[in-house]
């Protein structure tokens, strides 16, 4: 049962090592209820699709893993689709060639494969940091993509079905279900996996291990000289984050019962996973998950609304970079941009005009600056 603790004059609740204020606890409870209620909510409106939200959660879960690297070690992986794809393809291979039917076993296979892959890619790319690291992870991801594309045993560009056994379906608790029921049950499975995964990640981020990663991220040299074997820690974090990707990929394969290189391994998927973390707020635990749902939803809805939906996504990312660098969750938190501005607005409604004016001024200044630079480039200094 939750236990009450008083810290810094605030009442907090502690349960299984998770500590939260009353407000946070309520938000958490609401979030869990919402997750479980989504299959019912999506039935209310045609524009909401369970499969879209489900996919968003799965990619978002991979982003939660990536965030361990991004937030603490400050390493930007641009190749996380590699582990998502490895998990997905491992599931497909086990279903097709080993005839495995049990969802549990398939997922274990996905975890094992992703662990090995992350260990390998990590060992090769973690000699570097910064952009070089980003480029290396990207290149290794593309290598896997090219391999999946080129191997007819992996179905090439057509991809592979995950339809094992006589039922043509992975078995949940040894049973087959109608497609609609299967979708909902696998969704609940995803929710459970996500809750466990978030809990584990939360505990990791409260542990001494996190201190080591933070130390490495903030001052790598000093971290070595307080006795941390840096590469080994970063490698461990890389593998953990890869495992999250692998679990997500395995679930993706089980849910959709089909994997293709394009949808799981292509480098733009890696980009998606990275941007989900930032969109949701990479300094938060659940941000990447929310970023995942929002980004996939945006892409899906955008496609229905306009043929220029990439433009739409691009603009959202721009607004994010300049207006809300802390992401959705980071900005909504108390003390975030949103609440600060709202408070300001309540006090002084005319503030909007000031913001608009200052934004206009900045844009104007920038335009003049770039024009003068252009003139100098073209005609030299006058």
């Amino acid at each position: 049962m939750p236990e009450r603790v008083e810290t810094d004059g605030e009442t907090r609740y502690r349960f299984l090592g998770v500590e939260a204020t009353r407000r946070e606890a309520v938000a958490l409870a609401l979030g869990v209820v919402a997750l479980f209620a989504i299959p019912d909510v999506t039935r209310l409106s045609d524009s909401l699709q369970l499969s879209v939200i489900h996919q968003g959660l799965l990619f978002g879960f991979a982003a939660v893993g990536l965030n361990l690297l991004l937030r603490h070690t400050k390493l930007t992986s641009f190749g996380h689709a590699a582990f998502f794809g490895t998990g997905a393809y491992a599931t497909a291979v086990l279903a097709k060639y080993a005839g495995l039917q049990s969802v549990g076993l398939l997922l274990l296979g996905a975890i094992a494969a992703a662990t090995v892959m992350a260990a390998l890619v990590g060992a090769l790319s973690l000699r570097h940091t910064g952009l070089y690291f980003a480029l290396l992870t990207l290149a290794f991801g593309q290598l896997l993509y090219a391999i999946a594309l080129g191997q007819s045993a992996l179905g090439g560009s057509d991809g592979m079905p995950i339809r094992p056994g006589p039922a043509n379906q992975p078995l949940l608790l040894g049973t087959t279900f109608e497609p609609a029921v299967y979708q909902i049950l696998t969704y609940y499975l995803t929710v459970v996996v996500i809750l466990v995964g978030l809990f584990v990640m939360y505990r990791i981020t409260q542990s001494p291990f996190r201190n080591a990663l933070d130390a490495i991220g903030q001052e790598r040299t000093r971290a070595r000289f307080i006795g941390l074997p840096v590469r080994r820690y970063v490698w461990a974090a890389f593998v953990i984050s890869g495992v999250y990707g692998g679990v997500a990929g395995g679930l993706y394969a089980v849910v959709r019962q089909y994997v293709r290189p394009e949808g799981t391994l292509f480098f733009l998927r890696s980009g998606d996973i990275l941007f989900m973390a930032i969109l949701g707020g990479f300094r938060t635990l659940v941000g990447p998950l929310i970023g995942g749902v929002v980004l996939i939803f945006l892409q899906d809805v955008g496609q229905d609304v306009t043929q220029y939906y990439e433009f739409l996504t691009g603009v959202v990312l721009l607004v994010l970079v300049y207006g809300f660098p802390r992401g959705i969750v980071g900005s909504l938190r108390s003390g975030g941009v949103v609440s600060t501005r709202l408070r300001q607005l309540r006090r002084e409604p005319s503030a909007v005009a000031d913001w608009a004016r200052s934004a206009g001024r900045t844009a104007e200044r920038k335009a003049v600056e770039s024009l003068s630079s252009l003139r100098i480039i073209l005609f030299g200094v006058d």
Binding site: L124, E310, V321
Partner: protein
């Protein structure tokens, strides 16, 4: 022409030609990376805008010049094509300038990951801008490729090799020479390199880093546009054409060493030629070839073939 030696030669030349196109793309990316420390994910889109815009410019200029006839006509035509390519590339200058001054400058001191998000956002936006301007279907320029091919070159030495490819190789050599000359011999080039080596020092001796950065980004865009216009005549401009060159440029940069122009040159030719042989000897390996080369080189030489920008230009 079934001579094994001749085939090997032509295959190598094919690779060299591909390598030079790759270098034109990767050089812009690596210069920006080396000096601004920014990985411009939108670089492939700039390349593709160069291809689309190039089609328009070719159409206009060649409409004025007319098809080549005779030796003089041939020379005039080749010059006209070169002028078109340069014009196209020049069109990209303001694009690069605006990118740097308007978007990038505000976030240099932020986490690097925001630069990735920003340039990716620009990639998405440019993708749809292209769709809006040039439509959903592929575009071609018909005259340039066949007209240049009608000028005899390799045939003169008994080789079956299209003149356009010879043209690409020659222009590629000129671009390489021009870039090295710019960075080694001109004052502006040296200032840029100095900035790359030590920003603070450069500022201290009165260099405006803002201006250098804008210049470098504009140069990168110029090179991308140049490459796009050079690459498009034998093929078509399509919406998705920016992706592959972008990813291949990454490979080239990793092989050559981050931000090294010389590395990009050697890397591009290496990828071009080895890929070419791979296609000949083991066709199924075509797509994976560049990445396999990269993995191999990294195992042997983890830092890439050359050091970083500035120390070895």
């Amino acid at each position: 022409m079934a001579g094994t030696l001749e085939t090997a030669l032509v295959q190598t030349l094919n690779g060299v030609q591909f390598g030079f196109i790759l270098f034109m793309i990767a050089s812009g990316l690596t210069v920006i990376l080396g000096i601004l420390d920014v990985l411009n994910l939108a670089h492939g889109e700039l390349f593709s805008i160069g291809a689309y815009a190039g089609i328009g410019v070719f159409g206009f200029v060649i409409g004025v010049v007319g098809p080549p006839s005779g030796v003089l006509g041939g020379v005039v035509f080749v010059l006209a094509v070169l002028v078109s390519v340069l014009l196209t590339a020049a069109l990209l200058l303001p694009v690069g300038t605006v990118f740097e001054a308007l978007f990038l400058r505000a976030i240099y001191d932020r986490d690097q990951v925001y630069q990735l998000v920003l340039t990716f956002a620009l990639l998405l936006i440019l993708l749809d801008v292209k769709k809006f301007v040039w439509g959903n279907t592929s575009l071609r320029t018909d005259a340039v490729y066949s007209a240049i091919n009608s000028i005899p070159t390799s045939e003169l030495v008994g080789l079956n090799y299209p003149t356009y490819n010879v043209f690409v190789i020659l222009v590629g050599i000129a671009v390489v020479a021009g870039l090295f000359w710019f960075f080694d011999r001109t004052k502006t080039g040296r200032i840029v390199r100095a900035t790359a080596i030590d920003r603070e020092m450069a500022t201290a001796i009165g260099v405006s880093t803002d201006r250098v950065f804008t210049l470098v980004f504009a140069l990168g865009a110029f090179l991308a546009g140049f490459a796009g216009a050079m690459a498009v005549p034998p093929t078509a401009a399509t919406l998705g054409m920016g992706t592959n060159p972008l990813v291949l440029s990454f490979v080239v940069i990793v092989i050559g060493g981050l931000g090294s122009l010389r590395g990009a040159f050697v890397g591009a030719l290496l990828v071009g030629v080895i890929r070419s042989w791979m296609i000949t000897l083991y066709p199924p390996g075509e797509i994976a070839a560049p990445f396999a080369i990269m993995a191999l080189i990294l195992l042997v030489k983890p830092e890439g073939l050359f050091g970083t920008w500035g120390e070895t230009a």
